[in-house]
Amino acid sequence: MINLTIDGKTISVSDGATVLEAARAAGIEIPTLCHDPRLKPYGGCRLCIVEIAGVPRPVTSCTTPATDGMTVTTSSERLFNLRRTVVELLLSDHPNDCMVCERAGDCSLQELAYFYGLRENRFWGERRRYPKQDMNPVIKRDMEKCVLCGKCVRVCDEVQGVGAIDLAYRGFGAKVCPPFEKDLDCEFCGQCVSICPTGALSGRMWAGKGRQKDVKETETVCPYCGCGCVLTLHTAGNRVIRVSSKVDTPNEGWLCPKGRFGYEFINRPDRLTTPLVRREKGGALEPASWDEALDLVAARLGAIKDAHGPDALGGLASARCTNEENYAFQKFFRAGIGTNNVDHCARY
């Protein structure tokens, strides 16, 4: 254990904890932009700077290991001014088109600008322009909005193990891009999208569907593979418009392309919306009322059972339906119809 003092509070943390972790554990807020607890410390944005007694310059709390006896100050006029300059510099090279940005209301940069009250900017100057668009089908990459926090680069390498993007060029022209600035061609897991603090990265299909303030969030479980990732469905009206996942889930907020981008089927117009019955053998399936359809099912199943016994019927349940539904299904077959001919496709 390590004991240190932050803003006058004595705090104990385990070995290896950073100053930022120690502060957060004690409920002390420090602004961050490039930090994510799931990634290695980076120290790029400089917002999390703090003062440490005996150290002449401010240091980044996200990268600095806590040590015994350390005395840390997380807010002072000097720190406030430095942080504000950093945000001001970021805004001086930003399109500042929040009015039409997908992430408005859900953007770290916007929050910071608000917090520091930055309406004016002392540093207006040249702004990066990237007229060439990345035409990949899944992820919209608007790099003029990028703050180069490097999170996307790190998540792609450290977590996903793909390394599809990296920082290229130097100085003011530094840029996150795929090799040779080609269009992104990767696993499209969208981990980068989920971690980007600004509107630089977004799902292509999100565009214009609704911003965070109008959105209702519902936590549920992914309908695809057996990993069982927890999804947050973002809905606007009766439409699912986006899928995300929270950091404190068993899947740590990571998803695959299916879980993150494969939700559009829900709102498809070709969903079945009414029962269909085939009124004569060889005829077409025609819309019917629930009453007609249910009566027909009950009658036909009953007739087969009466004529050939319950074992002339079989049921296939679904590995995609809920426990409750599957339970009810087999209960119906066993207790209602009287056969054990019930299975699901665990074998495929």
Binding site: V138, L272, N323, A335
Partner: protein
Amino acid sequence: MTNSIAEIENNDALFVIGSNTTECHPIVALRMKKAARKGAKLIIADPRRIPLVKFATLWLRHRPGTDVALMNSIMHVILAEGLEDKNFIDSRTEGFEEFRKAIAQFTPEYGEKITGVPAADIVKAARTYAGAKNAGIYYTMGITQHSMGTNNVWSVANMALLTGNLGKESAGVNPLRGQNNVQGASDMACAPAVLPGYQKVADEAVRKKFEAVWGGALPAEPGLTATEMTDAIIGGRIKGLYIMGENPVISDPHMAHTLKALKKLDFLVVQDIFMTETAELADVVLPASSFAEKDGTFTNTERRVQRVRKAVDSPGDAKDDLSIIRAVAARAGYDLGPASAADVFREISALWPAMAGMTYRRLDSGGLQWPCPTDDHPGTPYLFKDVFPRGKGAFSPIPYIESKELPDEAYPFVLTTGRILFQYHTGTMTRRSDALEAVAPEPFIEISREDARRLGIADAGMLSVSSRRGSLQVKAMVTDRVAPGVVFMPFHYHEAAANVLTNDALDPVCKIPEAKVCAVRIEKTAEVAAGV
């Protein structure tokens, strides 16, 4: 899984066999990559150069269908070099001697002859797996969808027993479940021989317990599995079938056979969210709800029961599956009992001790892993800590049996099937999601560079692929992912459905069909067209 997903990152060694984890279980794969980054040894046994190979310490490319021979020879080395966990074998297992005899002939050299994996690599794998403090085995359909799939699973269990890698953290035997609620559907007894919670239908006491709650007498004879049902339909014994949320036309091996059966039925009900290839054959189609439109629970591959919550209303007149089943049952004169998902869940937890401690309230914060027998039980991250359900873990002597259909002159290639990252199962959902469909819009068949060169096949050229059961046309993908003599197809695409070709030969025990190995012939379409 005997263990949990989160434990994977602390494995010292991982043996991944028959699982294309990055594409089929991407989030489990993240933990595997993390383990590898933290220094774990990752051994992969797969006929294809799957993407996870990039992170592997050792890749064993064995011939499809030779898993038992591979594992037996690995275990032979473990015994020959004295790397087994003698304590564990003595105190917690039985049947070791017969097992030892059964693998006596599987020297690494013999293993090499059957599997094509160099003997030296077999030795390396044995030392790595047995030498690790905590080693986990991970597998999926790659070893189960075989006519000897059960044998493969027993071999996996043998490996874990031999090295004492069961009943502890970050080890174990871990089948990765392919669909989001396969675990739950099995737990809930959508299977012919058991009642919920794997309680045997044949056991009278068990039946009594359920009869008391459900009302009415329960049948004591186990029923038919899905694949057996298909034969029973063709044989005229089954006349009516009710399918909820499945698309067997595309997902089952030997499509012609499936179609024949479904068409022969007197009555077919299909309950689904889209007009699937199977629904098109139905007499009645009932519109159901997608996962986003209902409440309930799913149980994932690590036995974690988690809440499904309603986010939007179903379109039109579509109803959730629970209401539909209740309504059908009611009209058939049976009262299914509780109407809400929450109440159904309460009934389940009352009948299955492993879920007795779970309530929707408790599930709200992150779910619970069964067994969770009491209200204050935290759930069970890994199984068999002190005992196995049957007391001691039993070794099974497993002989090597060849796949049912091996390549010959007429059908010289081995076809193996599987999934890809961007599509899912029969594509009903993923192919209706523009982003995914844009990335992976069309079917393909992977063929090795050598074979492609020999047959004059160009990348993206159209091929005709046929087996004894059917044929289809599909674009070639020339790649070094597959070995010469082997071809691979994803089974998601109805326009070139791999299951037109696959074999429905069954495993004798669990009746799983042999979707992973069959023999096919490959021709360029131009040649075929010329003949027509």
